[in-house]
């Protein structure tokens, strides 16, 4: 088992993208608007990939992901703004506390299946949001002022680490156990897999990175308010995963980039924005009912093309 060629190609590609953006920013070829958009894309990729491990890999339908993002956002904001700790400590704390929140929510709710689990996670996310809404220490409904600290470097590293950890997890015996649970929970159990344990593990890893994404989000917009983490945000993340293709990591990344870009450009048309956005969603689901990528990854697509080419 050696690292595949695809891994090094991806890593090289990622570093090139990072360097190009970094150089262009330094030379003021990318203005603040686009910098902000790139960071937003990175945050959304992290959210999509962290939900992908719960829904796409383990098959547990959680629709409360914004709750863990909220935990990360508020914890990091408290660290940097109230306690005066460095940003990086805030990010780590955000991940840790969100993971603990994931554990506390996951242990009772992952006993449920399908629709019931979805409702339970939605409920937990709302509880988290309303808790922040009622804590005066973090500003309540008015929100909390946060300094802008998220840079392209933080956002890029966040994405890189998220994807690396989750794809490494997936391509191991642990990830395969999660896939087995998605495919057939009874058979997975009969094959010696502790299904409850792996469901919780996937949920905790997903929550951890949602928390980190929340920390980056909080320090990108000058202010965080509980309404930013309502169920619409959870659905937005869910849409990235479903539209990208359940079970495909590259699919959720592509969907996050695509939809974030569409949504940013549509801000020029505030009246029709949500209508056009919805039409785009409907069109994609009509023509790609299993999502943009199905269950395939990018490297499968390239491999198929190559083989097809040589035969022709």
């Amino acid at each position: 088992m050696k690292k595949s060629k695809a891994f090094w190609v991806y890593l090289a590609l990622a570093l090139v993208i990072y360097a190009v953006v970094q150089v262009m920013t330094a030379n003021e070829m990318i203005d603040l608007y686009y910098q902000n958009m790139l960071i937003t894309i990175c945050i959304n990729i992290m959210l999509a990939v962290s939900l992908h491990i719960v829904i796409g890999i383990t098959g547990q339908f959680s629709i409360g992901h914004a709750g863990f993002m909220a935990v990360g956002a508020y914890v990091s904001a408290i660290c940097t703004m109230k306690l005066g700790l460095p940003f990086i400590v805030g990010i780590i704390m955000a991940g840790v506390v969100a993971a603990i929140a994931g554990l506390l929510v996951g242990v009772p709710s992952l006993r449920l299946k399908g629709d019931y689990l979805a409702i339970a996670t939605l409920g937990f996310a709302e509880i988290i949001r309303i808790t922040f809404l009622n804590i005066d220490y973090v500003g309540g409904a008015a929100g909390m002022v946060v300094n802008h600290m998220t840079t392209w470097t933080y956002a890029f590293l966040g994405v890189l680490i998220t994807i690396l950890v989750i794809s490494n997890f997936t391509n191991s015996r642990h990830g395969r156990s999660c896939l087995a649970i998605r495919e057939d929970e009874i058979a997975a159990d009969a094959m010696g897999i502790n299904t409850t344990y792996y469901k919780v593990v996937a949920f905790v890893i997903g929550s951890l990175f949602a928390g980190v994404a929340g920390a980056l989000y909080a320090h990108n917009f000058y202010i965080i308010q509980p309404t930013a983490f309502n169920f619409l945000k959870s659905f937005e993340i869910l849409i990235y995963v479903v539209l990208g293709g359940l079970g495909s990591l590259s699919g959720s990344v592509i969907a996050a980039i695509f939809l974030t870009t569409v949504s940013q450009y549509l801000q020029a048309f505030p009246e029709t924005r949500m209508i056009i956005y919805s039409v785009v969603l409907i069109l994609v689901m009509l023509y790609r009912p299993t999502g943009l990528m199905g269950t395939k990854e990018l490297k499968d697509v390239f491999r198929l093309k190559k083989r097809g080419g040589s035969e022709a």
């Binding site: 088992m1 690292k3 950890v165 490494n168 997890f169 191991s172 015996r173 642990h174 990830g175 395969r176 156990s177 896939l179 087995a180 495919e183 057939d184 009874i186 058979a187 997975a188 159990d189 009969a190 094959m191 010696g192 897999i193 502790n194 299904t195 593990v201 079970g247 269950t295």
Partner: protein, 258 residues
Amino acid sequence: MSNPLVKLENVGIQFGGLKAVQNVNMYINKGELVGLIGPNGAGKTTTFNMLTGVYTPTEGDITFEGKSIKGLKPYQVTKRGISRTFQNIRLFKDLTVLDNVKIANHHLAKHSILSSVLRLPSHFKGEGKMEKESIEFLKIFGLDVYKDELAKNLPYGMQRRLEIARALAAGPKLLLLDEPAAGMNPQETQDLMDLIALIRKEFDLTILLIEHDMSLVMGICERIYVLDHGQLIAEGTPEEIRNNPKVIEAYLGEEVKN
């Protein structure tokens, strides 16, 4: 009687008011190949489900290697050394044939989540070993040529074989086969019988088999238990079972008097 590998003592289970299985006393010695037969709805699969931890018996006790396994969860039972196949094939359909077997091999590997995430040497060592062992299992079943196919794309007979390969990869001492020949033609059934005999010798297995195909049961089982309406009605060698009036009655109905 020396210590049997597995022993069921007065085992019974009740679903609401329905007594699905009651007063079952069974034992299987190490190395035996035992058949469990009975008409539809007799409680054969329910007995399997109690043995594997899917159901917890409401009465009696089940011991495996001298220790009670009553109340253990299915994955814990598998770790103790009992694995099974399913009557209705339950493969991981959208995963490859190789991954199906690797998943069963999972609980025998040691490398931790952290080592996999950080790609430490123990991860590569553990995964390499899993890969090698899984391919060995596939070879025994003639499935190694299909290793990168999705399980759902295999022909039916091959899916049945893959189920057994997967159960074997979980490293059992006792293998439970739930109607392994269901839906197979006579040639496939014959091949399957040979295969069961082969893996039994190769892996020093004890096997309990549910089957409707009488030629298969009578052909390879050393001892047979017969269940009817949730109760054991007979036990013995294939010859004894064939001539047992109770068994004939259960299968064919009562003889018409006068």
